[in-house]
Symmetry: C2
Subunit: 511 residues, 2 copies
């Protein structure tokens, strides 16, 4: 119905990935239409249409009976002004939910089904509940490899796709789960210094203590307009930007916002998520890093191999040159966990600081070397040596500084958070294990990634001998409340196991 008297109002509430509309209980439209709280409504104005969950308001200070309130996200999406003629309707349930229900029944879905589902998700036709239903229905191993391909293609088709106009556009991606492990910030300057195009966009942390975008942000701006990002990539052959501004595979972002809090693991969704994002970003050649370890996302080599095959199958269907590297994921990589501490590690490696964490350097060189071998002019097996030359010569550092300048440098300050707690060995022996999940949790509760300077600094790694009372790691927090909370957490489980001896494979050999 047309409601010329209903005025649009921006309600300054951040409802994250869900559009919320606010109608006063006495609003004529609300009463007339028989809307219910939590039912979904369709709002049209100015040629735009959005869907929103309805909240009913009893306070005219929030919205009056003649106003339609929209949460910040919804208001921006609708992109209308207060005096637009607004139309409010019952939202029909998304038709593609029929396909989701068929999937729940155990049916195999077609490309058309996946296209319909991703289109409806992109248009905000799915509630969080419906997205959760889709994720559970397609979770675990309920998608066969053709369906994973269909889902990937459908997610790719719902967003923009960049075209860099070059034959070789490289990227790397780690499936995640290993604290520290900030290899992208080393791989990008090395590969770009070689002259290959590596327009790297990264995510912010959702459940981890830092994403590459969070860590890079301590050194430079990462929130770049598409135009500026393009200029930087053209000029420097690489960038380290936040991927949220480009509208690449937007359905992926929406699903991730539901999937992560649910803690559902699904190989199929992981593959579709990664590949749709990378293809949308215009990559032609992609290196995937799958860390394996008892507290990593992938816990056994056979699972890593199955995942590799799935990546390869879908990558081949979508005509991206894809290689998978299986790495040691038995403990964090580097020393720092949390944006500032990780950025310090990265810069130490780039500066060839003798104190730089060797594992981070080695792993980054191995990954960069594999990417360099995508270059037809690089002889097979020579990538690692070239990468090492670029790093040792300072060319990688120079490239990183150029990228930082290009994106907009920030004042460098590696001082960690003001509150420091030292965690010490309760006995003498050898560090036999460091729990990735627990260390990530400790850094997160300490305040990372929101408090950039919060996190964990590891003094001992697996295989190191320790005497009773030696510092295993330091925890930094910015706020006393977090500090007290994290100390309690560490009392329960400090993440380290100390034993008599450990037979750890060397990283070089493993990689």
């Amino acid at each position: 119905m047309n409601n010329p008297t209903l005025k649009l109002r921006r309600v300054a509430i951040d409802t994250y990935h869900e559009n919320v509309a606010y109608l006063h209980r006495e609003c004529a439209v609300y009463r007339a239409e028989g809307f219910q709280a939590l039912s979904k409504i369709l709002i049209s104005a100015n040629g735009q249409r959005i869907l929103a969950v309805l909240n009913v308001v009893d306070d005219a200070a929030i919205v009056t009976p003649t106003e339609l309130g929209l949460s910040e996200q919804a208001y921006e999406q609708l992109n209308a002004h207060a005096d637009c003629v607004i139309k409010v309707d019952h939202a029909e349930p998304a038709v593609s939910m029929d396909a989701v229900r068929r999937k729940i029944d155990g049916e195999r879905l077609t490309l058309d089904d996946f296209e319909a589902i991703t289109r409806d998700i992109a248009e905000s036709r799915y509630s969080k509940m419906e997205m959760a239903a889709f994720l559970v229905a397609t979770g675990q191993n309920s998608l066969d490899r053709d369906e994973v391909y269909y889902l990937t293609r459908a997610m790719l088709d719902t967003g923009q796709r960049l075209n860099w106009g070059e034959l070789l556009v490289v990227d790397k991606h780690c499936i995640g789960g290993i604290p520290g492990n900030r290899t992208s910030m080393l791989v990008v300057p090395i590969v770009a210094a070689h002259g290959m195009l590596i327009p790297k966009t990264s995510s912010r942390a959702i459940t981890s203590p830092a994403g590459t975008a969070d860590t890079m942000e301590t050194l430079a701006e990462v929130n770049l307009s598409p135009g500026k990002l393009h200029d930087i990539v053209r000029k420097h052959r690489g960038c380290l930007a936040w991927g949220g501004t480009a509208k690449l595979a937007p359905v992926d972002d929406m699903l991730i916002a539901v999937e992560r809090p649910l803690g559902i693991d699904s190989r199929g969704q992981m593959v579709a998520s990664i590949l749709s994002k990378k293809l949308a970003a215009g990559s032609t050649h992609l290196l995937i890093d799958i860390p394996v370890g008892p507290t990593a996302k992938v816990r056994h080599m056979r699972a890593a191999l199955a995942l590799r095959k799935l990546f390869e199958f879908v990558g081949d269907q979508l005509e991206i040159h894809l290689e998978v590297i299986i790495t040691d994921g038995r403990q964090p990589i580097g020393r720092g966990i949390g944006p500032t501490l990780e950025a310090r590690d990265v810069m130490q490696v780039l500066e060839n600081d003798p104190n730089a964490p060797a594992d981070l350097r080695q792993k980054s060189l191995a990954l960069a070397g594999r990417i360099l071998e995508f270059d037809p002019d690089v002889r097979g097996g020579q990538g690692y040596a070239i990468a090492r030359d670029i790093l040792d010569s300072g060319r990688a550092l120079a490239k990183m500084n150029a990228i930082i300048e290009g994106q907009g440098a920030r004042a460098v300050d590696f001082t960690p958070g003001q509150f420091c707690h030292e965690v010490r060995a309760g006995r003498s022996g050898v560090v036999t294990g460091i729990d990735n999940l627990q260390m990530a949790k400790i850094a997160r509760i300490a305040g990372a990634p929101m408090d950039k300077k919060a996190g964990v600094d590891l003094m001992r790694k697996t295989g190191d001998a320790v005497a009773e009372g030696d510092v295993l790691y330091r925890v930094y927090a910015e706020f006393m409340s977090d500090f007290e909370f994290v100390r309690k957490l560490i009392e329960q489980n400090n993440g380290y196991t100390i034993g008599e001896k450990v037979d750890i494979k060397r990283y070089d050999a493993f990689i």
Copy 2:
């Protein structure tokens, strides 16, 4: 952390079945704790603890940086006052989500698992997304019959349980899906007039055009305090009240609020939902009505029989005397669809009005007859005749009037909505089918159940001969916007099929 400066504030927003907390973006607690929008927080005050989803506010008119805002439901649940010392913490994810993830993996869950899940749901530890994950994981036929029993018992154990102190407490329940079909409002007065205890509580419509509580509400108060409900039942041997005030199987209500919008059908959840509610209400003997038809919830006799076995198995485990009746669900029962029109039908039957819908009378007598036979003094096969005597003699009407008086009579007004649209036959022939789903949708879009007088009044039923231009049914609406919307809907599909002849079984024979 303790925040003596954080004041509690009731934010007058109705967020339905989800607790929402509002913190200002500049609030010291929000900044310090590193909360994220949509993350779940634990709020403690005055010895009470609640969980809530966090929304971040940028407008001090809604909450100031020194306030913690709570949506209406959350505020009531916390039951604290503005000056309480409030504690805000990160909410740990519900531990029982591990069991949900195991179910997603295809594992069989134990009674302990189900108890942990329902306890967490009852304590608001599950987000809507997590409930959706649980529903999908346990949906379709993924629960075996033992698991359905465990789920029923777990749902029963999370709420209060009434004890009427009598050996015979009867109830009936229809699995739903058939518009009209207001048999409870006839069965209760007949059975109560016989002297059996039938304390009937009903739900309001969620996705249908009317629940028994919505229809009864046109005649009497249905929102009764537990004390008043008890008094009425003691005095009149029966009632027709809304079940929402008693805290019976509260997890069932919470799951239904997620399940219905998702449109997920699950035999296991349906059985657990119905039986947990009835057992919590103190029933000892229960009659379940399963309508079967091409547009009913159960579409084939073999599915109805399988569902009957499942009801019987779980009922026996929980020691309730349970009988299942399979009825004709091929079209709506009675003439009216929508609260006022259905109430009119019911009163016509009670008043032995010659125009009363025969199918509603017949079905109600059949159901009442079966319930009367729960009485050890009633000879097998005599229930129907006794029920008919009670109805024909006016004793059922007298009982209904006494119950209406007891609950609080409302002024009777069966005038339907002000806007009326007549739907006419496009050809001559015989009505060969009436689509339950489409008729329910038409009544709902017309405004039912929120607008009591909105709905559909059927002039022709399956098997009736029609001439071109005859009125098939009338649609009533209270508001012009609904009226226009429903007319468009009817143009697409008016729900009737007209053909040459139909070979419909007589209801008596079918039941």
